[in-house]
Amino acid sequence: MRVTTLPLAVSAYTSTSALGCGLDAHLGALDAQHSGLRMNDFSSAPLPCWIGRVDGVEDVTLPAAYVKWDCRNNRLAWLGLNQDDFLVKAHAARQRYGATRVALLLGTSTASIGATEEGYRRLEDGRLPTDLRRTSIHTPHSLTAFIAAALDIKGPSLTISTACSSSAKVFASAERLIRLGLADAAIVGGVDSLCDSTLFGFNALELVSPEPCRPFDAARRGISIGEAAGFALLERVELQPSEPLQLLGCGESSDAHHMSTPDPAGLGAELALRDVFDRAGLDVAQVDYVNLHGTASQKNDAMEAGLVSRMFSPRTRVSSTKHLTGHTLGAAGIVEAIITLLALRDGFVPGNAGIREPDPACSAHFAWRNEARSLRVALSHSFGFGGSNACLAFARVDGVA
């Protein structure tokens, strides 16, 4: 049986990444193709690589009521929540629907593990130090528990942690809850912050580039890790009929191939794409733009270039924006969903920044530079460790200039 997903109005959204805080900072950096990557000045031991670090996270102060959740990841979450009036809009949605009728679904791959790492660096008599003896931060649910408290959300709330697809899959869960009538609206998003676990972990897998990452370049050398926070408010279209941006659907699949490398044939990724086309009733020819996963790892980009060339119509434009933001891991899904929404809203195709010499496997679909183009339908790809795939489809539904 074919399942038709419920289109949802995206009535508020915001992103904070190495490109800056909020939508305007992102739009400015996308327009200028200005990368937010810098030499690694974060890890607790030297590691020669580039990172997408958000300025000022260290200086964020959580309101006193939430101090038990204080850690880098939740400071970044709070910084992100306070951009673009998102906090105000989220509170208004809670007032409109009631606290128990709004769902909260957030993605993260490492949550506040940075605080646990810090605790282990300065153990006191073999125990976590007094200031970090807080169970609220040594759990992968730390982010969602904090945001639920900060927004006073009392509806279904959970953390999705499927590595780099985490904050794309939250859209699928939210759509199901709203379609079934278990919630009237949902706040979705994701936050991942820089930590030793991912920097040295990806380094151990020999996936970290010594230079700023160059997705789909013939001489790409791996990923640059970043951090980010992003949120979106999803509501029923009939209750927000004037919202121009909609989520059309989400496709999901598993690779069934390998824990840390994608299936080179891209069968799982293709299934996720076909799933979103089926659910949204989309024809592949309708797709104007795809924001690719494009991590600049050898294997992801080879797989994804093949997927693009065999799946999409010649009129579809594609690009990766990870040279600008870095790979924000569990937050990549939401950050790139928001870049996709900005492209739809303002009518442009973001260029695939960081390129010197395109990989010969890349087809003519690739937009190496920014292009002005009105868009109606755009997708965002997210593929994670463990073979977890998600593809999101968004549309601009008002008259496009």
Partner: protein, 273 residues
């Protein structure tokens, strides 16, 4: 009144699902039969150190951390009981803490010699490691997810899996597990036992073991249970599933499970009137 659902399994915020198979593993009760014997008052005669997890290849079984072995063992039992194939079965894995021993290892190495981190143990540290190993072992390309919600991880996972079953009209494997903590992290968290269970769920038909799930503002509650079951629940968030497992093993009762700090899920057995 059905609201936007495939064939009306969701009515007035209630979901109706069928339980097709149950799996369970802990050192004291290595399967559902052993659990039933425990409920009947028998004392466990043997303690099991390690789950078989025979769905994994020998190589993967060596590489996989304990959390994956427990999850895969419970999942395999539930699948066998359901008689379903695995290759197109969507799955939701829920765990409050993931693999705590791996987290402890990572943090220890990162504190002293970060460049010596094992790449295998790093990829085993992702919260969706069990989902990854499972889908690879069973050739499953259906959607898979890995979630958590603190002490409410089982209830949140049950709601997520039931919503997927009802919204997309498909069977879903729910796997719920946590392992014992180690090191400074384990000492703080206080999760001291191993427990895992799995359920194969599908949209309701008129036969089989049926459940009605409805969100509620009520606090978690359940029928009286043995001291041993209470001790499991104290010592492992995955054992918050015990009130439902007891209902399923005995064929009666109801309970309220936590799905978040403020929301409950009222679970009732449905019988043919």
């Amino acid at each position: 009144m059905p609201r936007f659902c495939a064939r009306g399994w969701c009515c007035m915020n209630a979901l109706h699902i069928q339980v097709e198979g149950i799996g369970l593993w802990s050192p004291q009760c290595a399967d559902l039969d052993a659990f039933r014997r425990h409920l009947a008052g028998e004392t466990a005669s043997t303690s099991h150190a390690r789950p078989n997890a025979s769905a994994l290849s020998a190589n993967e079984r060596r590489r996989a951390p304990e959390s994956v072995l427990v999850a895969v063992e419970a999942a395999s039992q539930a699948i066998a009981a359901s008689g379903r194939g695995t290759d197109n079965l969507a799955c939701v894995f829920t765990s409050a803490y993931g693999d705590q021993a791996t987290t402890d290892y990572m943090c220890r190495v990162l504190a002293h010699a970060p460049t010596e981190l094992s790449p295998t143990r790093f990829h085993n540290a992702v919260h969706n490691a069990s989902a990854g190993y499972w889908t690879i072992a069973t050739g499953c390309r259906a959607p898979s997810s890995a979630i958590c919600a603190g002490r409410a991880s089982f209830g949140a996972g049950l709601l997520e899996a039931a919503a997927l079953a009802c919204a997309d009209d498909r069977a879903v494997l729910l796997v719920n597990s946590d392992t014992a903590g180690t090191g400074p992290l384990g000492e703080l968290i206080g999760c001291t036992r191993v427990f895992g269970c799995a359920l194969v769920l599908s949209p309701c038909t008129t036969t089989g073991m049926r459940l009605r799930l409805a969100t509620t503002a009520s606090s978690p509650r359940h029928s009286p249970m043995s001291a041993e079951c209470q001790a499991w629940m104290q010592a492992n968030p995955a054992a918050e599933s015990l009130p439902l497992l007891i209902m399923l093993a005995t064929g009666r009762g109801d309970c309220v499970l936590a799905v978040s700090e403020h929301l409950g899920l009222h679970v009732e057995m449905e019988t043919n009137a």
